[in-house]
Symmetry: C2
Subunit: 313 residues, 2 copies
């Protein structure tokens, strides 16, 4: 398995962290970079991890997809908002029968990308439970957690899914990363939304990180109400989440160090927010199943207003 | 009627505007001021009105309630959050049988103040449909509208209500101000909430004035959804608002010049927000009537979070 050649597309916090962890474990990892290419080529990547200590390493860095060797696995850590633009690069770097893993939040990201991939390519989704952010070019701060839940989306061979998901999970596990193979990718994605919908959105709307959001009883109640709505939406769409799952996430979040979700950073830096995948698509699916989620809809409307004002056309 | 002696308690934008209009019409008006006393004593009050032109006048200004002559009518234009503190001053300035009008938004403000008044005093509520704000000490900018809807709360004489409300409305009308006597004060207060709940709260949450809030389709839908919830809450509490009332307010707001609601200014200046009267009390009454208003509750929770962070204990 260590022979697997892995390409990292979008080496921000997520791609950089998992890429470094895999490279450290002996995998052959290749990083496709854009703005940080020169810095990473010269100085390598640094992960300042509260879990693994400081990991600093020279890496195989590329500025152009055409320069990457054909990769067996492609981990996409870029924002879902840039998938359309990244698709040709992913295809260019893919070995025949390559497996593409979208390490992204929200719903519908695979369906959107699938038509732009080759028919021999497998497509998976990965949900990362991790507190990580980019500190400087080539420098990643890992505060806590790290697990990746993998699920299967589509492939040339109908029945290959389970084996490939298991292979992907084994790959992460070999790098010391908790990884679960999920039977149902949509269920895995709804599960992750129970965290992303409240915390990502409220970090932008209230300009607040997890600790103050959890400490104030009003925002805490709002988080719980939003979580309950996401659970309802999942259920209406046929995905039954475990009883007590929201309480489990509340406990984990309380045990985390104070954390600014990625959407906060995107907004602060004037980048597009992942509103389609995290809010619009789940709301549309719930609505189609006859389920109204008023708080989540309000959060989506408010964030859309703020996003548009933040990035005038 | 011109003999009526009128005291203005809290001469900010609302108190200052209506006081000047009444004084201009020949009423005997006395202004109780705090931080702006010296400026108003020396330079008088100025209303820069888009409707009435510039009105500049010397006024009878006081720094202490004990110095006011006994007033027949007391118009309270201060924030509802300061009523408890103002009660002794109102009592001090009140002639026997005085009528007190709370020119404030929200629910429950009269019930909160009533125990602090004398039993001979009448208590009314007034809902102001006006775009007005304070520009500088003693300078008030009036952008549009101006009507006051009056309703009766409580009195020593059970049956005096209707006559006193009519008298109050006539007083405003004599000063060229649109004023309606309302049979049901709570209905009048719920009616005004249909405007205040969305615009006041969203101006703080989205840091936006009426024009951008109405132009963006997402925030506009959110405003409509919040208005619909307030109408539902009113109905659950037994107050049936006219069909199409929300649409009427949307049209009025679109015709208004761009306007920053008072709650925006309160937040920007680090003042307490009127969250109890405008959000908490209506939510509690609706809930007691079996009616959940999820968006309004979310807005209340978010504003409470922002207010607490804005004014650390």
């Amino acid at each position: 398995m260590r022979n697997a050649r892995i390409g990292i597309i979008g080496s921000g916090a997520i791609g950089g962290f998992y890429g470094v962890m895999l490279a450290r474990a002996g995998f052959d990892v290749h990083f496709l970079l854009r703005s940080e290419y020169a810095a990473v080529r010269d100085q390598g990547l640094v992960v300042e991890s509260a879990v693994h200590g400081q990991v600093r390493m020279k890496v195989q860095a590329y500025a152009a997809a055409a320069d990457l060797p054909p990769c067996d696995w492609l981990l996409v850590g870029a924002k879902a908002t840039s998938n359309a633009e990244l698709a040709p690069l992913i295809v260019q770097a893919a070995a025949p029968g390559a497996k593409v893993v979208l390490l992204q939040n929200g719903l519908g990201v695979e369906a959107q990308l699938r038509p732009d991939l080759r028919s021999d390519m497998h497509l998976l989704g990965g949900l990362c439970f991790i507190c990580v952010n980019r500190q400087a070019p080539g420098v990643i701060r890992h505060q806590a957690l790290g697990a990746v839940n993998l699920g299967y989306h589509s492939s040339p061979a109908e029945d290959a899914g389970a084996a490939i998901v298991a292979e992907g999970a084994a790959l992460f596990q070999a790098a010391g990363i908790d990884s679960q193979a999920m039977d149902d990718l949509d269920l895995a994605r709804w599960q992750k939304l129970v965290w992303n919908v409240p915390y990502n959105g409220l970090s932008v709307l209230l300009q607040a990180s997890t600790t103050p959001l959890m400490s104030d009883p009003h925002s805490r109640e709002l988080i719980q109400a939003l979580m309950a709505e996401v659970m309802q939406g999942a259920q209406a769409c046929g995905h039954v989440l475990a009883q007590g799952y929201a309480e489990h996430l509340l406990r984990i979040t309380e045990q985390m160090p104070d954390y600014w979700p990625s959407m906060y950073h995107d907004h602060a830096l004037g980048r597009a927010l992942e509103l389609q995948a995290i809010y619009a698509e789940p709301l549309a699916r719930a609505r189609a199943a006859g389920c109204q989620l008023p708080r989540m809809e309000m959060l989506y409307q408010a964030l859309t207003f703020l996003d548009r004002r933040n990035r005038p056309a």
